[in-house]
């Protein structure tokens, strides 16, 4: 069973470090709302593990002025693809 984890608070929340120990190989992590600031700091995103797929919500990135060239390992998806991904993964766990 694969899980999509959504993270919706800024890095100050430490939500990613709460979430990561519970992430299984093959899971996805999607940053939404203020969670997209995890994509802003290249120091953070360079550490992203590769046995997890990383996503950022386009609408929230655009709102916050976060440029694509800051972001290396993260796939930018919009709401339509967010919905599709909920189908691809077996369940969704929200971190807020």
């Amino acid at each position: 069973m694969s899980t999509l984890h959504t993270i919706s608070k800024s890095p100050k929340s430490q939500l990613l470090s709460e979430c990561l120990p519970l992430v299984n190989k093959g899971d996805g992590i999607l940053f939404i709302e203020d969670g997209v600031y995890y994509c802003a700091n290249s120091k953070v995103s360079d550490d992203f593990e590769s046995d997890v797929t990383w996503y950022g919500l386009k609408e929230d990135l655009d709102a916050r002025g976060l440029k694509l060239d800051d972001i290396k390992t993260i796939k930018i998806i919009n709401y339509q693809i967010f919905v599709e991904m909920c189908e691809e993964f077996d369940k969704v766990i929200s971190w807020f």
């Binding site: 919706s8 919905v83 909920c86």
Partner: protein, 129 residues
């Protein structure tokens, strides 16, 4: 695919209720189904029909009401969350001798069993808070 959407957050003070709305609207327009909307805790505030917003801004409570009616969705508000927050239908208003009704007619007061039922009978449950 059948989704259940659980909303824990009040509108306006955080983005979560708006995200839940955008997600719900998108999944419906993509041809998926909503088994149930469940408004829990401060999420109950999304179902208050007495809200108005300045011109040019989005009335999130009215947007939910429109979406629920357009797609004939099952929309439930947790009873213990709702009454504490002054979100009451006609029946609750009469029972507690309150002067007015504040809940949109498109949503129903419900118990937590409706959330468990929704989790069991949906393909996916998403929480927004």
């Amino acid at each position: 695919m059948k989704f259940t959407i659980v909303v824990y957050a009040a509108p306006y003070s955080s983005q979560a209720a708006a995200t839940a709305f955008n997600f719900s609207k998108t999944l419906l327009s993509e041809g998926h189904e909503i088994y149930r909307l469940f408004f829990f805790s401060d999420g109950a505030h999304n179902t208050n029909k007495l809200a108005t917003v300045p011109q040019g801004e989005t009335n999130l409570q009215a947007s939910w009401d429109d979406l629920i009616r357009d797609y004939d969705l099952d929309s439930a508000v947790c009873v213990s969350s709702a009454i504490k927050r002054g979100i009451v239908d006609k029946q609750e208003a009469e029972r507690h001798e309150l002067s007015a009704v504040s809940l949109f007619e498109s949503s129903d007061i419900a118990g937590l069993g409706q959330l468990i039922d929704a989790a069991i009978n949906s393909d996916r449950l998403l929480n927004f808070g």
